[in-house]
């Protein structure tokens, strides 16, 4: 764990490659876990492979990796199967049924590992977060090159997953979106479900050594979730999830060997940092996504409410000039009627002055010709809507104001003309106020 903070290609290159392959292999089927809202099944399966490893060893007495692999995959798929059964028979929701299945299997696994402990070197910390740093140590020779065994295995799994999604893209799409149409169209949606679960189990087992059985869940779920925030097309989502997964692996390892040294420590766990980086990338996507991001939504909301308030100010001045009252049309009055904030009202009125909609004389506002034009449009929209809501939509007169107050900001000339026609060109609104013509 206390590796050198310097980048050494022969070591770090392989570690990063293993990280990328692992993250990509998990992200590909992860898209469908996320979209089918069964992300936790990835969690359940990755936990349940533990007893699979132990059972394979106890039954066959062999430590060959293929036997262990098969055992783990079988138990992983059984998890999905049992979850489905318990949900069907026990009438419990999927979350609870998963909780029952994977904790039971995990416990069985723990018991068996204790039994097998003398023969199998399953280190608890390794189970939790893997040993990706050991990647370069165990190599196999392929075409004269010494390639780490883990890299070969993860590359194979990533390739299988990619091919599966490409070949069965259409089938995965229809089965995930509408299982009953899929079945009615002759695509066996249960079969696709379990094929997907086999891939999830295979991926979880293959990633087990590198990143452990908890962090692999992050790889299944986080990159696809981040990708979903950035696009609303399935093909782009899968591509983006692959990119995000790769970025998380590269940045994760880089920060594992650099960040701790800034604080005088040795390097940190790469697998942990990869998962952490995925989380950071997700957070970034959640904040800055162009359509659904938190920030853009806040800005959009802010802009809309500012526009509405600035229009309300004009409409209020129009009404005050229409029917003169004892109140002076100054900032204090505007604020108290519209319940708006101090500086925002002042700011908006200053902008109205700059745009030539309003004149100010000793703090008293008056609409200019252009301002009156805008006020006419707004008030006309408002009163036409009130008339329409009462006469055409049958809304009681005491409930129309609020609706009209909202609608007036989204009503253009064309819509006003149609409202006018539909309500047979009224001269007053239901409250008796005159409807100005434009």
């Amino acid at each position: 764990m206390n590796g050198s903070p310097q980048w050494i290609w022969e070591l770090d290159g392989w570690i990063v490659l293993a990280g990328i392959l692992c993250a990509v292999a998990a992200a590909i089927p992860g898209n469908f876990l996320v979209l089918r809202r069964m992300s936790m099944l990835g969690d359940a399966i990755s936990h349940a492979i533990l007893p699979g490893l132990a059972a394979a060893f106890l039954i066959s007495g062999s430590r060959s990796s293929l036997t262990m692999f098969a055992g783990a995959v079988i138990v992983g798929v059984l998890t999905a199967l049992f979850t489905e059964w318990i949900r069907g028979f026990g009438e419990v929701d999927e979350g609870a049924s998963m909780g029952v299945v994977f904790t039971t299997l995990f416990a069985v696994g723990l018991v068996m590992i204790v039994q097998a402990a003398d023969y199998v070197d399953l280190d608890p910390s390794c189970v939790l977060y893997g040993a990706i740093e050991r990647t370069p140590l165990d190599t196999v020779a392929i075409a004269g090159l010494n390639i780490p065994r883990v890299v070969v295995m993860l590359a194979t799994v990533a390739m299988i997953n990619l091919l599966f999604v490409i070949v069965f893209y259409k089938e995965l799409k229809i089965c995930s979106f509408d299982a009953s149409l899929a079945t009615a169209s002759g695509f066996h949606s249960q079969l696709m479900h379990y094929l997907l679960m086999v891939l999830v189990a295979v991926t979880a087992v293959a990633s087990f050594e590198s990143v452990g059985n908890i962090l692999v869940v992050a790889m299944f779920v986080v990159p696809p979730s981040a990708a979903r925030l950035l696009t609303d097309r399935l093909d782009r989502m899968i591509l983006l999830s692959i990119l995000i997964a790769s970025a998380a692996a590269v940045l994760g390892h880089l920060s594992a060997i650099t960040v701790p040294t800034w604080f005088g420590y040795g390097s940190a766990s790469t697998s942990g940092m990869i998962a952490l980086t995925s989380g950071v990338l997700f957070l970034t996507a959640a904040l800055f996504a162009p359509q659904q991001g938190v920030i853009i939504r806040l800005l959009r909301q802010q802009r809309l409410s500012l526009r509405i308030l600035s229009e309300d100010l004009i409409a209020l001045l129009y009404r005050m000039e229409e029917r003169p009252t004892s109140r002076r049309p100054d900032l204090v009055t505007l604020r108290s009627v519209l319940l708006s904030g101090d500086w925002i009202t002042a700011l908006l009125m200053r902008r109205h002055r700059q745009r030539g909609l309003v004149q100010s004389n000793n703090g008293v506002f008056r609409l200019t010709e252009a301002g009156r034009q805008l006020g006419t449009e707004l008030v006309r929209s408002h009163r036409l809507w009130e008339q329409y809501l009462v006469s055409e939509a049958g809304v009681p007169a005491d409930r129309i104001h609020d609706q009209a107050e909202r609608l007036e900001h989204f009503t253009g000339r064309d819509l006003r003309d149609r409202l006018n026609q539909e309500t047979a060109t009224p001269h007053t609104d239901p409250h008796g106020s005159p409807i100005p013509s434009e």
Partner: protein, 278 residues
């Protein structure tokens, strides 16, 4: 089936005459003694009926009467306890391509990252077959179906950005593109705007003219006599089935709804008015 894009119109006409001649001799759907149980409690019990070719059939009954269950059982989507179902005189397996299904709008996740056109194209997946990609002619057919339901310009809209009525139209387009002879629809009129309801019923009538049969779960008793020429009144059992003017009576509705009916008088009144005008 269709050789080329230009021949599509012609081809549609051909399949229309073909299905007309087929339909004249075949009963689109026969259900015999169908029982479906959920946790050993029967949901529908000993249901049997036949519907005539080229008809527009309404399935009417109170909540929990087993209407959706009936459609799903016909489509073999849920296991049946006993009974037999025939589609155009054969088993569903043999005639699956002639049956189209429009599920309830809530049955799918509308946040799924696909466009309206993608959803419609799914209706063609069976034709395309396993693992093959869709060809340009398929996308064109999907586009035409979207245009036929009046939302051709929304093809690239992600489906959660569609209104309820537009989503329902998308589902209908997906069924249209299948070119089936028998359509099963689960509440296509639920929570849609008036213009969508009108558009849907127009399309159902066009399909009827083309000799296709539709079986539609419907809730609004007012419009039953206007929309459907045949009804199945269901409340776990079939209370009555037959031509609307014979079966859609006050007495039968009372049996179906167990006296809880408030809209009953209005509905029967609407029916009488229609009969007089006919």
């Amino acid at each position: 089936m269709c050789p080329g894009d230009q021949a599509l119109e012609l081809c549609m006409d051909q399949s229309l005459t073909k299905s007309l001649s087929k339909n004249q001799s075949e009963i689109p759907l026969s259900v015999y003694d169908l029982t479906v149980a959920y946790h050993r409690k029967p949901v529908i019990w000993d249901v049997g009926f036949e519907i005539p070719p080229g008809s527009l059939v309404g399935i009417v009954g109170p909540n929990g009467a087993g209407k959706s269950t009936l459609l799903k059982a016909i489509l073999n989507l849920i296991p049946i306890a006993s009974g037999r179902i025939q589609v155009f005189g054969r088993s569903l397996q043999q005639n699956r391509q002639r049956v189209g299904y429009v599920p309830q709008r809530e049955s799918v996740d509308w946040d799924f990252p696909i466009s309206a056109l993608d959803v419609v194209a799914m209706g063609l997946y069976r034709q395309v077959g396993w693992c093959l990609p869709l060809r340009r002619s398929h996308w064109k057919a999907a586009q035409q179906a979207l245009e036929r339901v009046g939302i051709g310009e929304l093809r690239d809209r992600q489906i959660s950005q569609l209104s309820g009525g537009q989503q329902q139209r998308t589902f209908l387009a997906r069924a249209l593109v299948q070119e089936a002879d028998l359509y099963l629809m689960d509440e296509p009129f639920a929570a849609v705007d008036a213009s969508t309801e009108k558009a849907i019923i127009e399309i159902l009538r066009d399909m009827k003219k083309a000799g296709r049969t539709s079986l539609v779960i419907h809730h609004d008793l007012h419009t039953v006599p206007e929309y459907f020429d045949y009804v199945v009144l269901l409340n776990m059992r079939v209370v009555a089935h037959g031509p609307t003017r014979d079966v859609f009576t006050r007495e039968n509705l009372e049996k179906t709804y167990g006296g809880r009916l408030t809209l009953l008088d209005e509905a029967t009144e609407a029916m009488r008015r229609r009969e007089r005008s006919m």
